[in-house]
């Protein structure tokens, strides 16, 4: 039931005082307690963002300096093949990763929720990769996907000479090589969240759907998944924030290669800022990334947290 309820709680209303205390001092403890969070949100995230945007209009090189160059950095950004490829790669990876993580996470959770044996063991197995860093993930998958020693080599040594599975050296499918590793690392957490969500569903709902004669798969798709909307929201926030930040895995696994075929925006930013010593270019790229985040996130956040009325 709690799931259906809105999380919004109305601020506790003081019983009408004779003299209304000054607005600033109402809820004072709460305001004081939130100072670290507000400072973080305003100074670091907002301030840092504004700072980044401002310097994206400069020709800052190794050090941030205010030499205005207008939109030059953006013009160059959008004229750079690597940036375009980065965005395409992120879009491809992002969509695949979001969909597959949700689907795999949910399917695994649903399977574990079918009252199976060894649930603990399976859950631990699916979750443990999340304990490992992307550097480790990239390294070990680079090793497994190595054409000579890894999967391809083993299959070939078993006699299937023409077997080819070399994603990390094939520009066309290198993003899927990253995806394999990314999913390995990230689906466990999402599975746990989904599992928790499934456990929160009232047993009576399942009973009702059985009495109604609704097939299991349809119960999932038509009843359970719609009921798990908040779970999916949390999951999507987690996945999406991870996708935008995709960097370490690429560096560890492919370094953006072969060529520039697995470049991603965050790497473009880093490469411009520190490899090319062109902070302005890096900031321009960051600004574009932030802009897309804001465009996607703000309307949703307003709907989710700002709105008063929710079913």
């Amino acid at each position: 039931m709690a799931i259906a309820e809105s999380a919004d709680t109305v601020a506790p209303e003081r019983s009408a005082p004779q003299k209304r205390p000054l607005r600033l001092f109402r809820n004072l403890s709460s305001k004081i307690a939130l100072i670290p969070m507000i400072a973080t949100a305003v100074i670091v995230f907002m301030g840092g963002t504004i700072w980044t945007v401002v310097y994206s209009f400069t020709s800052s090189g190794l050090l941030p300096r205010l030499n205005w160059v207008g939109l030059d950095q953006y013009e160059r950004l959008w004229g750079t093949t690597k940036w375009i490829i980065s965005i395409q790669n992120l879009a491809l990876y992002g969509i695949c990763s979001l969909v597959l993580t949700l689907v795999i996470g949910f399917v695994l959770a649903a399977m574990l929720d079918r009252k199976i044996r060894f649930e603990d063991a399976f859950r631990t197995i699916f979750l443990y990769p999340f304990a490992l860093s992307f550097i480790v993930t990239g390294l070990v998958w680079q090793w497994i996907l190595n054409p000579d020693y890894g999967v391809q080599g083993v299959v070939r040594s078993l006699g299937w000479e023409s077997f080819t599975f070399n994603p990390l050296n094939n520009p066309d499918i290198v993003m899927f090589g990253l995806l394999i590793a990314g999913l390995w690392q990230g689906t466990g957490l999402i599975m746990c969240i989904m599992l928790a969500g499934l456990r929160g569903i009232d047993d009576d709902i399942w009973k009702a759907s059985r009495v109604d004669g609704i097939p299991v798969w349809k119960t999932y798709t038509r009843i359970i998944i719609p009921m798990m909307r908040p779970v999916f929201v949390t999951a999507i926030v987690l996945i999406a924030s991870g996708i935008i930040k995709l960097y370490d895995l690429v560096v560890a696994q492919t370094s953006g290669g072969p060529g520039i075929s697995s470049e991603v925006p965050a790497k473009y930013v880093m490469q411009s800022m520190f490899g090319g010593q062109n902070l302005g270019q890096g900031f321009a790229a960051s600004t574009m990334m932030l802009l897309s985040v804001v465009i996607i996130l703000v309307p949703w956040a307003l709907l989710e947290f700002g709105g008063r009325k929710r079913g």
Partner: protein
């Protein structure tokens, strides 16, 4: 066999070593309103879930309308079920909730509409059809849940404590409506509750359960007046029955100074057997005031506490150091500390064997 709507034969259900239901037999007539009553953990909901097919019995058989449905899916058993937590599908409108199962069963569209409309009309939820459950009150939600069972057009309705999430006033209202519904539909209804008022008011027959066994299965009247054992006697009735421990000798019950000749008492075994016994006396069957002296058995008790409840007054006193409750007419004034003369009709008393607690 058509008279039998639901039959349960030798039903056993074990969870590991825990025996939840034991060799349970039950025969429910067509059109009967049967209430499964008991405190939590007595197995009443488990039994209902077995009938619905939501739990698989360890042993035994279940028949609905003469068909062995022991291995059938819930949806194939011809039952509808209403849950305590309503279990409405929160993302669908009321109409969606009512029609979802039917759509799945590929019932023709106009037929669905006919049934939904009929259910909505019966339950007076027509204005709510386009709303979602989140926007409904508890009572409205429960009506929708009943409606969902209704549209299935089945012979047997199962209710799993449907009213316990509602407040007292609403519970009373819906109770009446349920009764009306039963009169109107004349379906078999099996109703699980721990609330004896619901049981007494709704049931044709009540099955009182304890520890996975049915203690007594009978009409509310018999259950109330002739409980088969001390547990049932204690469970039914509010305020609960007074128990006085004593002995039965040659048709006379003695407990300390109190004696009562069991004149007119209908012994289960035909005649009285001597031995230790417990006399169960309902507080509302105690006669006070001037009429008390006319009763076959009398005694004097001191009113320690008086609880006026408007229509009647509950008086707390002690007999043989055990609490003793008397319910008397509300307009008779009683002071705390007052000594009352009370009279008891042995015919309305229940006697139980002290060791087996079975009715004598």
């Amino acid at each position: 066999m058509t008279d039998h709507s639901v039959q349960i034969k030798d039903l056993d259900l074990h969870f590991g070593a825990v025996k939840v239901l034991q060799n349970l037999n039950l025969d429910i007539h067509d059109g009967e309103f049967l209430v499964l009553l008991g405190s939590s953990g007595c197995g009443k909901s488990t039994l209902l879930n077995c009938i619905a097919g939501l739990l698989e019995p360890t042993d035994g058989q279940i028949f609905i309308k003469g068909q062995n449905v022991t291995w059938k899916e819930p949806s194939e058993r011809g039952i509808g079920m209403v849950f305590q937590s309503y279990a409405l599908y929160p993302q669908m409108t009321v109409e969606g909730n009512l029609s979802f199962g039917l759509k799945n069963a590929r019932v023709p569209k106009d037929e669905i509409k006919r049934r939904v409309d009929r259910a909505a009309e019966i339950l007076q939820i027509e204005p709510l059809l386009k709303r979602k459950p989140g926007a409904l009150s508890g009572g409205q939600r429960q009506r929708v849940a009943i409606g969902r069972a209704l549209v299935r057009d089945v012979d047997v309705f199962l209710f799993d404590e449907p009213l316990s999430n509602l407040d007292a006033k609403l519970r009373a209202d819906l109770r009446v409506e349920l009764k009306r519904l039963h009169h109107q539909l004349k379906n078999t209804m099996i109703y699980v509750t721990h609330d004896q008022v619901e049981a007494m008011t709704l049931a044709n027959r009540i099955a009182i359960m304890k520890g996975g066994l049915i203690m007594q299965l009978d009409t509310p009247d018999v259950i109330y007046n002739r409980p088969v054992n001390k547990y049932v006697a204690d469970f039914i009735g509010s305020p609960s029955m007074n128990f006085i421990e004593g002995t039965l000798e040659r048709g006379t019950f003695r407990a300390g100074e109190f004696t009562m000749r069991m004149q007119g008492y209908d012994f289960a075994a035909g005649s009285a057997q001597d031995g230790p016994a417990i006399a169960g006396i309902r507080p509302e069957h105690i006669v006070t005031g001037e009429l008390a002296a006319n009763m076959p058995a009398t005694m004097q008790v001191k009113a320690e506490l008086v609880e006026p409840m408007g229509s009647d007054t509950l008086i707390w006193s002690r007999v043989n150091d055990e609490p003793f409750r008397i319910r008397m007419d509300g307009h008779l004034p009683v002071e705390e500390g007052e000594i009352l003369n009370i009279g008891i009709d042995p015919a309305r008393v229940s006697l139980f064997d002290t060791s087996t607690e079975e009715r004598l």
